[in-house]
C-alpha cells in the first residue's frame, strides 16, 4: 500500500466500527426528539425507523425502509451513529441508505422480506451491515455474505425476552460444542451448518463469533439487558422497549446503566428503581404463525 493512498469500506473498517459499539445500547427511534432522548441517555447509536416493531405488528401490511426524510431528520439531530433498516434481500433500499450515508444498515426480519432466496451481497457496500441470527448457522452465513456484526433475532416488538435468550443460548452453546473437536469433525459440522469451515474453526478457537454479537428482539427492562450481557452479548438493541414505556428517558438511561453494570446485581437494582411501566408485551405462544418475525430469512 502506497503512502497517501486511502482505502474505504474494508472488512477491518466495517468490523472496527462494530467494535466501537461494544458495551453499548442501540435504541430504536422514530423522530429527532426521540433520537435526542436516546443520545442524552447514553445510547451508542440509534436505529432510525418509521415505527417501532410493536407498532409495525399493529399496523400490519408490508413494512418497508423508512422515509429518507425521516432518516435525514434523525441524522441531523444527533452526533452518535445512525443506523436504519432495509428489507431482507432489498439491495436497492440498501443502496439508498448508503447514499444517505447512514452509518450501518440493518438487514432486518422486522421488515417484510423482499427476497426469499437471497440476502443482500453485503461485500458490495462501503457501509457495514448488521444482520439477525437465531443460531450459529444463520450467523455464519450472514458473516460469509459480508455482515460486520450479528444480532440475535429474538422476537421483535413483543417486549418478551424469551426468544432473545433462546437465540443467544443457541449460538453460545453451539460454539462451546465445537471446542475440542477435530478439524474433520468441524468440517463435518460446517457442512451441516451450510457455513464456511474457516469461520467454524475461528469460532471454536476464539470461543465466540468472529464479529461483534449484540442481542435484540424483546428486551424491555434493565434486568433483561443485563441477562443478555451475562449470556454473552457484546451489547444490546432495544426496540419498542424504551419509547413504549411510560418514562422513556428514565428507561433508556436505566438500560444503559444495566448494560454497563451487567454483572453487578446491586447496581442493576439501583438502575431499576421507579422506572414506571415497562412496555406491555406479548406472550410468544399466542402469536399466530404468520405473526412470527424471526423465521424470516434463514
Amino acid at each position: 500500500m502506497k503512502l497517501e493512498e486511502l482505502r474505504f469500506g474494508t472488512e477491518l473498517l466495517k468490523r472496527g466500527f462494530a467494535s466501537m459499539q461494544k458495551g453499548g445500547v442501540i435504541m430504536d427511534v422514530v423522530n429527532a426528539d426521540q433520537a435526542r432522548v436516546a443520545e442524552e441517555a447514553g445510547a451508542v447509536a440509534v436505529m432510525a425507523l418509521e415505527r417501532v416493531p410493536a407498532d409495525i405488528r399493529k399496523a400490519g401490511g408490508v413494512a418497508r425502509m423508512a422515509d429518507p426524510a425521516r432518516i435525514t431528520e434523525i441524522m441531523e439531530a444527533v452526533s452518535i451513529p445512525v443506523m436504519a433498516k432495509v428489507r431482507i434481500g432489498h439491495f436497492v433500499e440498501a443502496q439508498v441508505l448508503e447514499a444517505l450515508a447512514v452509518d450501518m444498515i440493518d438487514e432486518s426480519e422486522v421488515l417484510t422480506p423482499a427476497d426469499e432466496q437471497f440476502h443482500i451481497d453485503k461485500t458490495k457496500f462501503t457501509v457495514p451491515f448488521v444482520c439477525g441470527a437465531r443460531d450459529l448457522g444463520e450467523a455464519l452465513r450472514r458473516i460469509r455474505e459480508g455482515a460486520a456484526m450479528i444480532r440475535t433475532k429474538g422476537e421483535a416488538g413483543t417486549g418478551n425476552v424469551v426468544e432473545a435468550v433462546r437465540h443467544m443460548r443457541n449460538i453460545m452453546g453451539e460454539i462451546r460444542a465445537l471446542q475440542g473437536r477435530s478439524r474433520q469433525e468441524m468440517a463435518d459440522r460446517a457442512r451441516a451448518l451450510e457455513a464456511p469451515v474457516e469461520l467454524v474453526i475461528e469460532c471454536a478457537e476464539r470461543g465466540r463469533l468472529p464479529v461483534v454479537n449484540f442481542s435484540a428482539g424483546g428486551i424491555a427492562t434493565p434486568t433483561d439487558a443485563a441477562m443478555m450481557m451475562q449470556l454473552g452479548a457484546d451489547g444490546v438493541f432495544v426496540g419498542s422497549g424504551i419509547f413504549l414505556s411510560s418514562n422513556p428517558s428514565r428507561m433508556a438511561r436505566a438500560i444503559v446503566e444495566a448494560v454497563h453494570h451487567y454483572d453487578d446485581p446491586k447496581a442493576i437494582a439501583d438502575a431499576s428503581r421507579d422506572l414506571g411501566e415497562a412496555m406491555k408485551g406479548l406472550d410468544i405462544h399466542l402469536l399466530a404463525k404468520e405473526e412470527v418475525l424471526q423465521t424470516r430469512g434463514r
Binding site: L3, L6, F17, K22, G23, E39, G42, I80, V127, P128
Partner: protein, 196 residues
C-alpha cells in the same frame, strides 16, 4: 520491572486494547510481573502506571466518566495516558462545535469530532511517523482530527487533513486505532515513556 496498565472499561473496543497492550508487553520482554487490567470503577485508577482510554462513542464514554465519578481520579492520575479516537476527544482541552460535554483538558489540543464525515468516509492509510522509518498503518473510524496544539505538545503524525497523533509529557493521543492493526510500535513507545 513489572508495569500495570489499566484500560478504561466503560464502552468501546476494550478487549482489543487489553490484547494490544499484552502483546506489546510480551514483545518488550516485560510481560512477567506486568498486568493489563480493565478499569470499571474510579478506585481502580490510582494503582496503575499507565491508563488507556479506548475507542468507542465519545459522548457515551464521557457521560459514563462523570456518572461513575472518574473525572477527578483521571485528572489527578500521575502516570501516562494512551488516548485513542474517542479517548483523544475525552482528553482534549476543547472540542469544536460541541457543548454537550466538557472534555478533561489533559492534552493541550483542540479536536474536531467526526472530522472526516460518517462511517462511509472511514478509511485506512499508511502514515509517516516522526522518528520512524517505516510507515504506520492507521485505521480511522469516524475519526476526530486535531486542529490546534499547545506549546507543550509534540506533533507525531499528520495527514493533509490535519494532525492525527501527538505526544505531551508521558501521554499519547491518536485519532486512529492502533489496537486494530498489527503494529505495536506505538504501544511500545508509550510503555518506554512510562519509565517504570
Amino acid at each position: 520491572m513489572g508495569v500495570r496498565i489499566g484500560v478504561l472499561d466503560l464502552q468501546g473496543d476494550v478487549s482489543e486494547h487489553l490484547l494490544a497492550f499484552r502483546e506489546a508487553l510480551a514483545l518488550a520482554g516485560r510481560d512477567r510481573g506486568s498486568s493489563v487490567v480493565p478499569i470499571r470503577s474510579a478506585g481502580e485508577i490510582t494503582g496503575c502506571d499507565g491508563l488507556a482510554v479506548p475507542g468507542g462513542e465519545s459522548t457515551t464514554i464521557a457521560r459514563m466518566v462523570d456518572r461513575k465519578g472518574m473525572r477527578k481520579p483521571i485528572l489527578e492520575f500521575p502516570g501516562g495516558i494512551f488516548a485513542t479516537c474517542a479517548g483523544l476527544i475525552l482528553l482534549a482541552s476543547a472540542v469544536e462545535d460541541d457543548r454537550r460535554f466538557s472534555p478533561l483538558g489533559i492534552l493541550d489540543v483542540t479536536v474536531r469530532r467526526n472530522a472526516f464525515g460518517r462511517q462511509r468516509e472511514s478509511f485506512e492509510q499508511d502514515l509517516r511517523f516522526q522518528g520512524e522509518d517505516e510507515p504506520f498503518h492507521a485505521v480511522f473510524i469516524r475519526a476526530p482530527v486535531i486542529t490546534r496544539t499547545g506549546a507543550r505538545v509534540r506533533i507525531l503524525a499528520r495527514i493533509p487533513r490535519g494532525i492525527v497523533a501527538v505526544a505531551q509529557e508521558r501521554h499519547l493521543g491518536v485519532a486512529f486505532h492502533p489496537e486494530l492493526s498489527r503494529d505495536r510500535r506505538l504501544h511500545l513507545k508509550f510503555l518506554e515513556g512510562l519509565q517504570v
